[in-house]
Every structure is written in C-alpha cells, then in structure tokens.
Amino acid sequence: MGAAKPAEEEDKVDKARRGFLKGLGLGGAAAASPAWGGQTFGDAWADFFQKHYQQMTREEIQETLERIERKAEQRYGVAIDCQDTPPQEGVVFGYAINISRCKGYRDCVTGCVRENNLGRDSQVQYIRVLQMDRGDSNLENSEHYYDPAEVPVEGKYYLPVQCMQCDDPPCVKACPVEATWMEPDGIVVVDYDWCIGCRYCMTACPYWARHFNWTDPEIPAEEMNPDTHYLGNRPRPRGVVEKCHFCIQRTRKGRQPACQEACPTGARIFGNLLDPDSEIRYVLANKQVFRLKEDLGTEPKFWYYSD
C-alpha cells in the first residue's frame, strides 16, 4: 500500500521512530501506522499512547484534534477542521422514515458518503436502501444492489436501513475495550483511535450497521469534507470499525443530517425526541410507526411509517 500512495517524505526522525518501535518489539505498530504516512516521531508516539476519548483532559483532546488535522493534511493534502462539539442539554436524537415517500433514489447514500468522508475505494456506505416486493417485508427477499433504468420500479417499495442508534445497543455491550458507547444525546459513537478492530460489534449488530476499514479509506482531496468531528466524519485509520453517527458534526450544531438534506422526497424526519413540539414527536404521536426487529429488544431510536 505504501507504493500505491505518493512518495512521502521520510525524514530522519521518522526512520528513527521505526527503528525505535522495532526495537521495542512493536513491529505491528510500525506496520499498521503507515496509513498516516510520514508523520513525525512525536505524532507517532502520541498516536500510540493516545488515551481513550473519555479519559483525555481538555488539553489532551485539543492536542489530539490538532494532530488529527496535521495528519489529514499530510495524508490527503487537505486542511480540515476537527472539532469535538459536545452534546446539547435536553436533546436525544431520533429518526423516522416515511417509506411510502421513499422512491429508492439513494440520494441519501450519496449525500452520506460525501458528508462523512467515507472511503471511496473501499465503498463503505452507512445507509443501505433495500428494494422490497410489495406485499413482502422479509429482509431475506430484499434486493441490495438494485440497478434498474428508473426507480421506483413497479411493484416494489424501498426500505432505507442505517444505524438505528439503539437505546440498548448490543454493539456497545460487545466491545471488549469500550471503544464504542452511547453519548448523552443518544448517538452511538466509535473512538476510531481506541478500536482494536476485533469486529465483535459487527457480529452483535442486528442491522448490519457497522463497517470495517479492511483497507485505507481513500478520499480524493477535492471531495474531502473539511468540517469534521472527532467522533464523526474525521478521516479514519485502517483496521477500525465505523458507523452512522447521525452526522454528529452537523446535528450537534443544529443542522440536519446529510441524508435528510439529500432526500428529494421529504421521506426523512429527524429531530429531538425530548422536544414535544418536534416533527419527530408529531410523527410518533400521529402515525402508525414500527421499528425493525423490535423483538430483539435493542430499542432502536429509528422508526418507519407510511401514509
């Protein structure tokens, strides 16, 4: 993979770092981190010993965010802004989709890929829109890779699936190192710098919402979204799990998630479940809603309804 990327400057310090890590018997570390390319000894050191997000002090978080920005600059040649906007008081996010409005255009998928800096080569997508036969709701009969000349196809309906931000998330229970947890605003997040890549959370997820970076996520510089969040769309390293985070970098600033913004039919409703006047609460109160695989007891904060 080193050869596939533009030659990086390897200064003497960097070489010293590799020699040093090798000496420590940390061959794995040296091998796994070229993903970030010619970083300095200091950055590599700080990377390796970086603490869990929840255990870092304010200063340590600040240093980490700056390092993330530096690394993105080195790797993608783009100046990004990495923040860690905290959750708002009295907010728990929820989502609802009107499946009678969804036409299967998959604009939400494209919008998500661009917003969240998803690997283009690796083709990670947080949202999967399933094409279903009318009269059938068995997921095993769903079409994942539908490609007709025109959608919607006669006799079909469309079911977009993404992370349900479960209130009792089995993935969080599964993680052996607490690299994934639920934030106070209900978003299940991943600390990409803490994940060890065991993929047990992917096994535990009933919605196939978690995706693994089997290879380095490649993003063309001109398509990089520079507005990023530590727990959200910042560039991810190889070998870790990621998932939909309700566009944490947008929604914590009061904006819509990218999938909702991209949807041309208005099928997507997003909002604060704790606000009785929110649109999402209106939907829950007035529409006949259902949730996927409710019997598993994971309490998704993601509903479906139809007109």
Binding site: M1, S33, L139, C175, G197, R199, W208
Partner: protein, 407 residues
C-alpha cells in the same frame, strides 16, 4: 529456579537428527506463515477473504475449535486427580502441555484477526479500558489467560519438585487442580456464549450451543490426545499404558454420541418449521439462493463423524489400534470442520439484512493459520520433551549445582 529453567530449555533442544529435522520443519512453516502475516500487517485485513458481510472467517473458526482442544485436557486431569488413576496420572502432564499449546494457538488466532494488533494494550486493565464483565469477548480473554496460567503453573510446580528430587505436596497443588477443572469447562462455555450471546445471529443464538461445544470438544480432544500419546510412546522411551487410551476412547465414544444427538436436535428444530431462523442452517446444509460453498464440507464432516462413531461403538474396532486411529482422525477432522467453518461462517450468511455473500479464505489466511498450528505443535514438542526428561528422571538437579544456588 533459574537452573531448572536453563536445564529444561537445554533439554528441549537436545535430540537426535530426526528430532531436529522435525523442529526445523515446523519452524519453516512458522517462518513462512509469519512472513505472510507481515503482508497482512502491511496491507491490512483486505488481503483476507473477509468482508463487512462475513466479518469473521478462518481465524475465528480455528479459534473456536482450539479452545475446545484446550478444554479437553480436563479429561485427563479429572480421572488422574479425582479417581486416582495412576496410569492416567502418569501422562497428565503431556495433556496439560497440549492444553498450553492449544490455548496459546487460540489466543494467537484472535490476535491475527485484529485490525489493530498494535492497540492490544487497550485491553490491559488500568492502563487500557477492559469492558469486563459486560463484554463476552472480555470474558473470553480472562478465562483463556487464566487457563493458560493455571496450566503452566501446576505442571511447573510438579516438575520443579521432581527436578529437585522432592515429592510435591498434594495439599498445596490440589486446590489449583480442582480450580483448573472448572476453569476448563468455563473456557469453552464462555467461548460458546461469545457466539450465542448474539440475537442478531439466529444461527448461534441457541441455548444448545454451550452444551454442543463441550460435547464436540470432548470428542475431538481425546481423539487428538489418543493419537499424540501413541506418537509419544513410539518416539520416546516414555511408557503410555494402553488402559489410558482405552479410557479416552470410551469418553470419546460417549461424547460423539451426545454431539451427534445435539446436531440432530438442532436440525430438527430448525427444519421442521422452517422460519427465518433456519436460513443459515439451510445455507450450510442445502445452500441458499444458489450459494452453497459450505455444503460439501458439512456433509463430509457429518459423514466423518458418523463413521467415526460407528467404529467407536463396535467394541473390537475400538480396541484395535488401526481402526481406533482411523476413527480419531475422522472425528478430529470432522469436528474441526463442523465447529470451525461450519459454525462461524453460517452465522454471517445471510447477513442481518438478508444479503447472501460467500466467504473463501485466501492463501494468506491459510498460511497464517498453518503457521499458528505449526507454532502450537512446536510448542507442544518442546514442552513434552522437557516434561518427559524430568518425569523419566533423566533431568535432575545435580547435587554439586545445588550448592551454588539458593533454591
């Protein structure tokens, strides 16, 4: 103590030409697989056949199987220490050596499966964050590590005493032996729970998985021990009484009967009323949506197990070395397929969203797995070599040495 270690290690690397060729042969496989693992580190797990759809593969399949082999050492420990079978007590350390090798292999299989092995330290309590007791994977780390320590410490104590020409005191090690017995069952139960704890994967989400794991472990474990003990008897001067093999063969027979009964119970429950629950087992045995790469394997495995059981259940055949060995090889391979790939892969097919995506291990995965197996066998060879030398009284603390060291 240091003297003991040095003598032990020296003994490990002393032997005839054939012994050295064997060590070199195993090391060569380890070296080749190690180099392949390096490729995996450099390029990422993309070099494996795994995907978001089938996110665990050959590595975890071998892991699940090997935990069973490790647990099966208890089948020597129980008769040796609880029923005071002197013949079995004589070989129990060989069995514990096998447990050490097997549990090491299973841990290595998890490590090579990690996307970020450089972050393994995140699991260490205090400096990392260990999600215990919530995460079943954390539990598995605890029980596997504990089992490794127990199976190193008890034999170490026994051998160290023998080395010094002393009689080990039963009172000081017996409680640990009892603990190790329960621990052996726990490692395999926890490993089964690791899978069955996932309602997202209906194929694994059955209370029968734990019992099935134990039953199949108690069939495949003795199969391996029987073959190993015969090899030990052949290539060393160590005596292995035929009565040990007889007892193990009997245990294996009963365990295989129970195992196949469990398989039958599973098949009935899933196929009688074929709900969504049955999709994975349908894929495994009959294929699903035109995909059926595991189908020939599972039928092959099932046939091996059935034929092995028939041989084991016919008394004269079980008593004859040749037929018994055939049954052992069949049962070992059969269960390796059944509870390795046959258990892990269908859990992912179809995906929770109903997608059918097949998995085939790549050459890198196969060579890394071969290297771990070779490493385990190498480890067992070295341990057994030292154990036998001490047990046979060849390796003893020299009186003249003793003066120089405070022990």
């Amino acid at each position: 103590m240091i003297r003991f270690m040095i003598d032990g290690i020296r003994e490990m690397f002393r032997g005839p030409r054939e012994y050295w060729l064997w060590l070199i042969f195993l090391s060569a496989i380890v070296a080749y697989g190690g180099w392949q693992y390096w490729q995996q580190l450099v390029n990422g797990l993309v070099v494996t056949g795994m995907s978001d759809q089938v996110s665990w593969g050959f590595y975890i399949a071998n892991f699940a199987f090997l935990v069973g082999i490790a647990a099966a050492a208890v089948l020597l420990v129980i008769p040796a220490y609880i029923f005071h079978r002197e013949d079995i007590k004589h070989v129990v350390l060989v069995g514990e050596g096998m447990a050490v090798a097997a549990v090491t292999m299973s841990m290595l299989f998890v490590i090579v499966d990690l996307g970020r092995p450089d972050r393994l330290w995140h699991m260490i309590p205090v400096i990392g964050r260990f999600n215990w007791p919530i995460s079943l994977l954390a539990w598995d780390v605890v029980v596997l590590f504990g089992y490794l320590v127990l199976n190193l410490a008890i034999p170490f104590y026994l051998l160290y005493n023998r080395y010094r020409g002393k009689e080990p005191s039963l009172r000081s090690y017996f409680p640990w032996v009892v603990l190790a017995m329960f621990w052996a069952i726990s490692i395999h139960t926890v490993t089964a729970f690791l899978f069955s704890a996932n309602p997202a994967r209906p194929f694994w989400h059955t209370a029968l998985l734990g019992p099935r794991f134990i039953a199949s472990a108690f069939a495949s474990g003795p199969a391996l021990i029987i073959i190993t003990l015969q090899i030990v008897r052949k290539v060393t001067d160590y005596t292995v009484s035929q009565s040990v093999i007889k007892t193990l063969a009997l245990i294996m027979t009963v365990a295989m009967q129970i195992n196949l009964f469990f398989v039958g119970a599973e098949l009935f429950t899933d196929f009688y009323n074929e709900g969504a629950h049955a999709a994975s087992i349908h894929y495994l045995f009959l294929g699903l949506g035109g995909f059926d790469s595991l189908q020939p394997w599972i039928w092959f495995a099932l046939s091996l197990n059935v034929v092995a059981l028939v041989i084991l259940m016919i008394n004269p055949l079980r008593e004859r070395a040749l037929t018994l060995n055939i049954a052992c090889v069949m049962a070992f391979v059969g269960i390796w397929i059944e509870k390795g790939m046959g258990l892990v892969i269908p859990g992912f097919v179809p995906t929770p969203l109903g997608e059918i995506f097949e998995y085939v291990p790549t050459w890198i995965e196969l060579s890394v797995a071969a290297a771990i197996w070779a490493f385990g066998i190498l480890m067992f060879t070295l341990l057994a070599k030292a154990v036998i030398a001490i047990e046979q009284g060849r390796l003893r603390l020299q009186k003249s040495d003793a003066n120089g060291y405070s022990l």
